[in-house]
Symmetry: C2
Subunit: 821 residues, 2 copies
């Protein structure tokens, strides 16, 4: 069975056929590699725009990463043929391209590497892949063990296809001096200007080795021959590679290493694979990575990934959940925050939400991102659709389409940042504007963005949607300049409500009142224009048609319109109950909550492109995890923790074969979606996109810290207000907070359903405190203040029915103040 | 052995492994299909821009057709699995994807269809593909014969992968009403405007059948399973297709037909495959093509291809040459002229040269193209880089780069048109300008274009090259505005010399003198600035460096600079001999004459992009047949017919296995290139690009008609001045000319080498003439005038040494005038 191993820092999949497209990913600041359990790979690096160094065997589109990436026999990958030279028997590792049934198979992605353990023909192969910490380079280590009792004569043949790099020029040859196969190409272009733009490009792809190969081949076709990749002609009948070259032929880096292994003997091989500008760079990389100590290289890579530490480690009765939360989720949050999804112009909303995730790993990174974003704001207050991360970068693709929601995320990320850090000085930082040198404070920048949100209204006071809000492809609701977004009205109300306390804090009372009033008005209008009797509609089209409502046959109900009505407080108790019932009935599935239902099966041209996506995929009715996380947030915000946890928990695939096989994904990241259309296309429902670029991770992590475990910052200190599932009688969390660390043990007494639904009373027992101040903020919230950075505190929080008891013990605490409010 | 069959109207390749990528092509006005002998296909249609209805399994670039297109197991194709249901044995036809060794194999492309005959497991399959004459539709007929003596239970499974059509939406299902597998997709886009632009697109791909399939599958992955395409899981162990659908999964149209065949019994199946806008269109196509008589459909398609008739049929001792010239070359010329290479903005030079080819098939088509081109000329005289063929069309890719040669081709095509038709009235036709409504005559248009050519000179009087001349990628010789083209100087001189007689004819003496003077000056300057002592340089860079000369290590000699110096008369006798020696030594190869040598192996940034193409490919030193045809033209123009014929003859692959295997192409079309770099990369030298888009075919045909057989029009009638290879003691040609037909038999007496090099005297014996007038224009040229349209004339022309005898017999001739000049 698939499982976490090595204390959850590694996963193990023991069958290549259960979830054939399941994968893991590695990255550094310059590159990303998405590695499938069977050897197929999608990799890219920044130069400065995303580029590939291995290619499909035809002229491919330059494109963002695709969901549910299809693999096929000649797709790029990294493969190892192994042949017994005495018998001619052969297999390939990890599994492709031969697909020979193996005696043992394990795909073991770790936090900083990816490993396979393969056994077949009494040969054990341990293959480990890591990335150079600071270079665009794959580092491979292959250990071969003869587990038999006789001498073995074997060939190990790494087969790394390089593919169709260019119609202008592509080829490759073995270079003796570099002991590398060097494949060259010229990035195709037709205009003179591009020649100069392209000059820095790394048009070489190389494979270098720690040992001189006995034979090699660079022509893919010569290697494969008539035999096919499942039985390459060049390896049949004991033949050896022909030391061939590729001359405007599809190149592949293929080396053949001969081993004579005594019984139980082993040998190791190191390979480097990646792009380079020229041979000098290959030489440098070889010197750096093949000639120095392996442990040092490994340590560098592990150092990088060790930054992916969240502010919390948990221990709950749900062991798989613990591993995911403690190791893999912060890793994904860090990936987003540190790599910016390997784009040079991230969408503003993505960039800000990814930064929000970094609040819980490295608040300075979040701060930097906020500053970067605000420096690109116009003096009018308008935010751009994408944030340019380098001088050469341009707004591309979707960032050329006007969206109306970007300022919303400013308030949300700033609120999170201030909550966690209490660093209100950021608000005073003067920053220039994109179109004006005048400097204004961060507070003024954000307030102006809020103003923009408040003003872009129609005659009803409802916000225009233009060509999309959070939902990019909802691009035709308002493209004629009239349509409005119900979700956006809610999001603006929510954002304003987050910003109002900040205004108060800065004693900007007039602004606070103005924003508060606008939020109140919005909530009224939301009920006036969008409430459909049982749930909220999603928007009103250019032609005045309310959609996402009961009369619609497709797209009857949209999750976001409900979640954010809960978040912004527009929905009253009765409405909330009606909405939740509708969600349960129409949107909930065993694989998560769908974003809308029924999924559109044909174009609705007053809604837009979203309705043309495949039903149940992406924004058209999938379990879109980002939206599901919003929903969980809205549930937590309304004290519905039990329900919220179920929403979150469903996002993590289980170890069970059946679930793995349906999802097609390992529980090492959150995908952007699982297929929805549960009632329309049951066969595919639950299938993962296997795309790990998603705003979900930041929200998921925030909800765990601040809601599930309820350890949220405020001006006075740390609020503790957990909403743990009732079956967790014991759970503990290790929380880093403003320089101090807290170990909190949560003890829950069996709670009646009722008790949780209403409120939890809180009490605290404190002993041996120094600077700690503990007080009740409300019946279910404790405030811990007065702690000292650098100190470590241990507390026990007890939760019970109507009267939950909260007890806290601090180590080395000298003084406790306990205030009853 | 491979050979022509059916009187040369069909070719037969009897082994799928000799030239695995060799192919044939079919087209109609709306689509083109390039079909490989093993089943792989590249197809596109116009909607109005080129689109595909089958796709590779990943997001592909929109691109022009690539030379040496690589195929791989999941590449689009049309395949037929055949399984003996009693034994489970299986093979695939034509050869892919199983690559099972067959008992009999024949790939038999015809003029109007493509056929395979396959035998294996005592089953004979005859598969025939044709295209609907007026629709975008493939028509398949599969005949299955049980050649054994016992009852057979077999499954025939057409497997037509549809591939990755769209990341937004793709899938497919079987539709009972249509008896078709219908794969749907949404062309990906992100901007609202594109939604409206895309609405007409045919986003369905369907496979319909004349019989209801017993089973079907639409999911490619479900079909293939773990078995791989060489042994699909779904067909193993006697299993049948699972009637599955594709839901945002790679779709494939796969049907399973069960046959119970008595000994020697047979059955037939018809399939339609293509794109459609909607189900109604599929229904119409089914009704049109599955429900009416097969013979009628076939006749329509044959009617279309029967337009591909040239003005000449020949019979020479070289049978393969005859078949090629009589059937396949005019077919290729017609493809170019009638389909415009399936672009909406053909490059001006291609468009005009393709039109030139049509002079010999359908002069009206040529006339129409000339008019279309001139209507897009600016009032300044400047010609655009591409000709827009529809209102929506735009200048794309290479047509956004300024080239300087376009007007040259106007004079060349008009000269050919006038020669063949004597239709000088075209010159008087008034046409508006692209930027001015004023109408000017065609003569004025062309003369103005010639003026532009005469004026874009530097201080030396040499023509600027800007960002390329005929050689598109020679884009950095003059991008700074100073570099000049030696070839262009020659081409302008030649074009002017073609235009001068036209000016005289129209009594525009002043213009004629001016152009003549400019040509004379150019020829002087060519010798002054470009002659390098043994050959002519190709150009002078922005920095004043003459290149393509003996001091260059790479790109020492360019063929075009020599050919056109011969054409324009700049080279004197001694220079000509030196050039020819240099060409023989440095450029000639067994596969043709290379365009330049040595091929560049690194960027030369004062020459440009051409130097970055793979050495020996395309314009960087391949046997670029278009340039080789120019060379042949220059040899014929200088009476070097023997040498010229060798150049032409090398362009046609032979039937010999060795040559087929090196070229990788069948002698059914001329490719745009064979790999050159003969001395640098001998392994790949001679390999065909397998691209049949090339200006070569028009020139080749013109040279055959007007030079090899020497039957060229002039104002007074038909000039006869053959330059036949000396080993052809007998040859005959059937020539249509201005409404009359001529059957000319050529008899050559053994000629001394000397005699050919110098001149051939001509004599004619005529009997029984009516309106025919035969006179000697020179010692080796006969003028036939006074003939009657609609009449048929038979003549015998005898060629001998210094005194070649030319005798002509006319049938039904009543009167002969014989003038000695």
């Amino acid at each position: 069975m698939a499982k976490f191993i090595e204390d959850g820092t590694r996963y193990q999949l023991d069958d290549p056929c259960i979830a054939p497209n399941s994968a893991a990913y590695l990255w550094n600041k310059k590159m990303m590699l998405h590695m499938n359990c069977r050897g197929y790979a999608v990799s890219q690096y920044m130069d400065p725009e995303p580029r590939k160094y291995t290619h499909v065997p035809n002229l491919a589109a330059q494109s963002f990463m695709q969901p549910e990436q299809p693999y096929f026999s000649h797709h790029p990958g990294r493969f190892f043929y192994l042949r017994d030279n005495q018998t001619g028997e052969m297999f390939s590792a990890p599994y492709e391209p031969m697909r020979v049934s193996l005696d043992a198979y394990a795909f073991e992605p770790g936090l900083a590497d990816i490993r396979w353990k393969i056994e077949k023909l009494d040969i054990e192969l341990t293959i480990t892949l890591s990335l150079a910490a600071n270079d665009v380079l794959e580092l491979w280590q292959i250990r071969v063990v003869n587990v038999s009792n006789h001498l073995r004569d074997i060939s190990l043949i790494p087969y790394f296809p390089v593919g169709y790099a260019s119609w202008m020029n592509m080829g490759g040859q073995y270079n003796t001096e570099l002991n590398a196969i060097v494949c060259s190409s010229v990035t195709p272009y037709q205009k003179v200007d591009d020649y100069f733009k392209n000059q820095h490009l790394k048009d070489l792809t190389f494979l270098s080795a720690s040992r001189i190969p006995d034979y090699y081949e660079v022509s893919q076709a010569a290697f494969e021959g008539e035999g096919g990749l499942h039985n390459p002609s060049s390896l049949q009948h004991g033949g050896n590679l022909a030391n061939g070259e590729a001359h405007y032929e599809l190149p592949a880096a293929i080396m053949q290493f001969q081993y004579l292994l005594a019984p139980k003997a082993s040998d190791s091989l190191r390979l480097c694979f990646g792009p380079a500008k020229d041979k000098a760079e290959i030489q440098q990389l070889n010197q750096r990575y093949l000639q120095i100590d392996e442990q040092q290289i490994k340590a560098e890579s592990e150092d990088y990934f060790s930054q992916a530490q969240g502010c919390m480690k948990v221990n709950t009765p749900d062991q798989q959940f613990n591993h995911f939360v403690n190791n893999w989720l912060p890793r994904q949050v860090f990936y987003h925050g540190d790599s910016n999804r390997l784009t040079t112009d991230p969408q503003t909303r993505n960039y800000l939400q990814d930064a929000m995730g970094m609040v819980y790993l490295n608040p300075q990174a979040c701060k930097k991102a906020i500053i970067t974003a605000l420096q690109q704001q116009k003096f009018s207050g308008e935010m751009p659709d994408g944030i340019l991360l380098s001088e050469q970068a341009e707004l591309k693709y979707i960032n050329q389409v006007p969206h109306t929601d970007h300022p919303v995320w400013l308030a949300i990320v700033l609120s999170a940042y201030l909550q966690e850090t209490n660093d209100y000085s950021l608000l005073e930082l003067p920053l220039a504007w994109a179109d004006q040198a005048t400097q204004s404070s961060v507070f003024e920048h954000v307030s102006k963005a809020m103003q923009v949100l408040c003003e872009a209204n129609d005659e009803r006071g409802l916000p225009y949607i233009a060509q999309g809000d959070w939902c990019d492809p909802m691009n035709m609701v308002g493209y004629q300049g009239k349509g409005v977004s119900g979700w956006l009205a809610e999001a603006i109300s929510y954002a304003l409500q987050l910003w109002v306390p900040v205004c108060h804090k800065l004693e900007q009372t007039q602004l606070a009142n103005q924003f508060e009033q606008h939020a109140t008005q919005l909530n009224q209008r939301i009920n006036q224009y969008f409430w459909d009797g049982q749930w909220y509609g999603r928007g009103i089209t250019d032609n005045g048609v309310l959609f996402g409502v009961s009369k619609d046959v497709e797209g009857r109900i949209f999750l976001n319109a409900q979640s954010w009505a809960l978040l912004c407080g527009a929905a009253n108790q009765q409405q909330s109950q009606q909405m939740l019932a509708a969600i349960d009935e129409q949107l909930d599935t065993p694989f998560g909550v769908m974003m809308n239902a029924p999924a559109f099966t044909q174009m609705r041209d007053d809604v837009g492109r979203v309705t043309q996506k495949w039903p149940g995929s992406a924004e058209n009715g999938s379990v879109y995890n980002h939206a599901a996380a919003f929903y969980a947030a809205s549930l937590y915000a309304n004290g519905l923790g039990e329900r919220a946890f179920k929403v979150l928990r469903k996002m993590i695939p289980s170890n069970e074969n059946e679930d793995l096989s349906i999802r097609g994904q390992l529980p090492v990241y959150l995908p952007n979606y699982y297929r929805g259309a549960y009632y329309q296309y049951p066969r595919t429902a639950g299938r993962s996109s296997n795309l790990f670029n998603t705003g979900t991770s930041a929200w998921f992590y925030q909800l765990l810290v601040e809601q599930l475990f309820g350890m949220r910052g405020c001006s006075e200190g740390l609020l503790v207000s957990p909403q743990l599932p009732k079956e967790w009688l014991h759970a503990s969390a290790h929380r880093k907070f403003r320089g101090a660390t807290f170990d909190i043990e949560f003890v829950q007494q069996a709670l009646s359903e009722n008790a949780i639904q209403k409120c939890i009373s809180v009490s605290a027992n404190v002993s041996q405190s120094t600077t700690l101040t503990i007080s009740n903020k409300s019946t279910n919230t404790l405030l811990i203040g007065g702690f000292t950075p650098g100190e470590h505190y241990s507390l026990t929080v007890t939760l019970s029915g109507i009267e939950t008891e909260l007890s806290a013990q601090t180590t080395r605490a000298k003084k406790v103040e306990y205030d009853e409010h």
